[in-house]
């Protein structure tokens, strides 16, 4: 009797904590909506598709910022995923035992560096290097939209590089743990069938696929919301361009830049609506990744009929 009362109390307390999370998410969403009502009523859906952001005339459209956020995050993922997975595979499968701990520690240390430090490094070290590379780009390549525009050093390309460095530790830490949790029997079975080391790693990767996708998505979530480091190197010009050389803008950056001086009500509401859009886009991206993981997991289960690994879900 006594025990069950304790249990019930414990269950209730933790339940309340869990409910708090839900309340917070709903509360943030509601508050963002309430504080951006002026802008929502004035611009409606045009806010999503408008290309003009003019505080003087009070005309606000968020498309360049949405584009900048998605494009920079996508580029960052393209750069960071192979590197992060490479690190994870090396640490968990190939490295000498004595290197394992220091290497994992170092990658995790990368995640602990404040983003303003990344930003400063980006401005003073990375930007000049990127500028030199841009100057070296042959004229034939410069004709492609990806490399058009004057070589400034700041712009989409630099932002994507900074972001990818910031994302790597997140993706690689989780991917490494997932590889470590693949049952040894998987690899032994592969070796027993005459697989090479590379093939055995491939089997392990296949087994942990859902978790690895989750690790990449964790990185994406990080990239979408990154603010200061990106603001410092992206050039802050709201334009929609494929070019890696072009200065562009992200949603988080415009909020950080303009919030302090936005005294006008409509302007403030428009900035908060950008926050709302970022919130919605993050939810959509997360939902899509869940869906993706869920569908691949089912397929995997059907093919190799192995019970799904619980840990991997948590990482996602």
């Amino acid at each position: 009797m006594h025990r069950s009362a304790d249990d019930r109390l414990f269950r209730m307390t933790t339940g309340i904590f869990a409910a708090l999370v839900l309340l917070l998410v709903v509360g943030i969403g509601f508050e963002l909506w309430r504080q951006s009502l002026l802008s929502i009523e004035k611009f409606g859906f045009k806010f999503w598709t408008g290309r003009v952001w003019d505080p003087v005339s009070g005309e606000f459209g968020a498309l360049p910022f949405i584009w900048g956020t998605l494009y920079s995050s996508l580029l960052a993922l393209l750069l960071s995923t192979p590197i992060a997975l490479g690190i994870a595979i090396y640490i968990s499968e190939l490295s000498p035992r004595m290197l394992r701990q220091p290497l994992s520690y170092m990658t995790e240390l990368l995640a602990a560096i404040p983003s303003i430090v990344y930003g400063l490094w980006g401005v003073f070290i990375l930007t000049p290097i990127v500028r030199k590379l841009e100057l070296l780009t042959p004229a034939a390549l410069r004709k492609f939209p990806l490399f058009s525009g004057p070589p400034l050093g700041v712009g989409m390309g630099t932002a994507a590089i900074i972001l990818s460095i910031m994302v790597v530790p997140f993706t690689s830490s989780v991917a490494r743990e997932i590889l470590k949790n693949v049952p040894i029997a998987q690899r032994e079975a592969a070796y027993a069938l005459g697989a090479t080391r590379w093939e055995a790693i491939k089997v392990a990767m296949g087994y942990g696929k859902t978790g690895i996708i989750g690790a990449v998505m964790l990185g994406l979530g990080r990239a979408l919301g990154e603010t200061i480091a990106v603001t410092m190197v992206i050039g802050n010009n709201p334009q929609i361009s494929l070019s890696l050389f072009a200065p562009q803008y992200t949603m988080a950056a415009v909020i950080a830049n303009e919030f302090t001086e936005a005294a006008d009500e409509l302007y403030l509401h428009a900035l908060i609506e950008i926050g709302l859009l970022l919130f919605i886009i993050t939810i959509i991206v997360n939902a899509l990744s869940r869906l993706f993981i869920w569908s691949t997991k089912r397929r995997l289960v059907n093919i190799i009929s192995i019970p799904p690994v619980v840990e991997e879900e948590k990482a996602a």
Partner: protein
């Protein structure tokens, strides 16, 4: 398993440390034990160094008074003043008629010191100091002048070997009083700029790269050959940044200095409106630097708290007399005598 959990926790922890700290909230804390009276204010970042010095010096004179100032930006200062969460505000751009109308009670403006904004540029192998007529700067910031050896730049700078370099425009990305002053000047000298861009702390720039803060703009200018940006005079002086002189309304090319900024205010004193809400960019008069501006402290005309109202009025009198001596060493241009006299009269308007 435990290690796995700890890693996830670590990752989550790292994610937490990355979130930017929320802007510091303000509270209107009353007197602390020991009968000390606190007065809270918030606003512009530009005068923050001198305000900090003033408030700490004033605390030495009047140990019973503590004035707290949070430099959260002009817009934030106006917002907090009108919502009455702070006792006084501070701004780099005067409040608009609309903002004054939406305030719960009449608000007075008091200029405290002056600042200037200068065009900083990076042209390798050009040692001569460049001269910029106002309309030329406007055309450059509109994106209409693409090369440094453009005829319009050459005409203003005879004898200077200008390189065939692309012009890269650098502007502030964060909302800022500096942008306000810069745009205010360019709008006065160029109708096209006024119509296409306008005046505000953040505007829609037709071209260029945005950088955060004076340090961001000057850092970008230093890195990109052929770039031009605008920074506060104080910042340019303290950091030895190359900047050009600008043509004033009298037709002279004036290099920004504390003196030339003060003379801009002196020449504007003759036509000073009673509420001090005046732009002194493109000021008439010899030796006046055209991109100059006041920065203001904002006070309610009829403060509900008479004790704090009296403290601020006393403080303003001190700041306009002894306080002005602290301006120049910190790089601010002191107010001219004519303006100080007008302000001392205006301080009587506060109902105590």
């Amino acid at each position: 398993m435990r290690r796995f959990v700890s890693v996830v926790a670590l990752v989550a922890l790292a994610a937490c440390t990355k979130t930017e700290a929320p802007p510091a909230g303000t509270n209107t804390a009353g007197g602390t034990p020991g009968a000390r009276i606190m007065v809270n204010g918030a606003g512009a970042t530009f005068p923050n160094p001198i305000y900090s010095k003033w408030f700490s010096d004033y605390n030495k004179l009047r140990p019973d008074v503590r004035i707290n100032y949070q430099s959260i930006g002009s817009g934030g200062g106006i917002k907090q003043l009108t919502s009455q969460t702070v006792f006084f505000g501070a701004t780099d751009g005067p409040m608009t008629d609309e903002q004054l109308k939406s305030a719960p009670a009449p608000i007075l403006h008091f200029p405290t010191v002056l600042g200037g904004v200068v065009p900083a540029y990076n042209l390798p192998n050009v040692s001569a100091e460049l001269k910029f007529p106002g309309p030329l700067l406007a055309q450059m910031y509109l994106g209409n002048i693409k090369k440094w050896n453009d005829a319009a730049i050459a005409k203003a700078n005879p004898g200077v070997a200008l390189p065939n370099l692309d012009v890269t425009i650098i502007h502030r990305s964060d909302g800022s009083g500096t942008s306000y002053i810069w745009c205010d000047y360019l709008s006065k000298v160029s109708p096209e700029f006024k119509q296409r861009v306008g005046v505000a702390t953040s505007v829609s720039w037709p071209t260029g790269v945005g950088a955060k803060g004076n340090e961001g703009v000057s850092g970008m200018v230093r890195q990109i050959p052929g770039s031009i940006g605008y920074v506060e005079l104080i910042y340019a002086l303290q950091n030895d940044i190359t900047f050009g002189s600008v043509q004033n309304a009298a037709g002279e090319y004036v290099r920004a200095s504390l003196d030339s900024v003060t003379s801009a205010a002196a020449s504007a004193a003759a036509n000073m409106p009673a509420d001090f809400r005046v732009s002194i960019t493109n000021a008439q008069g010899k030796g006046a630097y055209p991109i100059s501006s006041f920065t203001w402290i904002l006070l309610y005309q009829n403060p509900t708290d008479k004790v704090r109202g009296k403290i601020m009025a006393d403080f303003m009198k001190w700041a306009l007399s002894d306080g002005q001596k602290a301006a120049a060493p910190l790089g601010y241009a002191p107010l001219p005598k004519q303006v100080i006299d007008l302000e001392l009269q205006a301080l009587q308007k506060i109902q105590l």
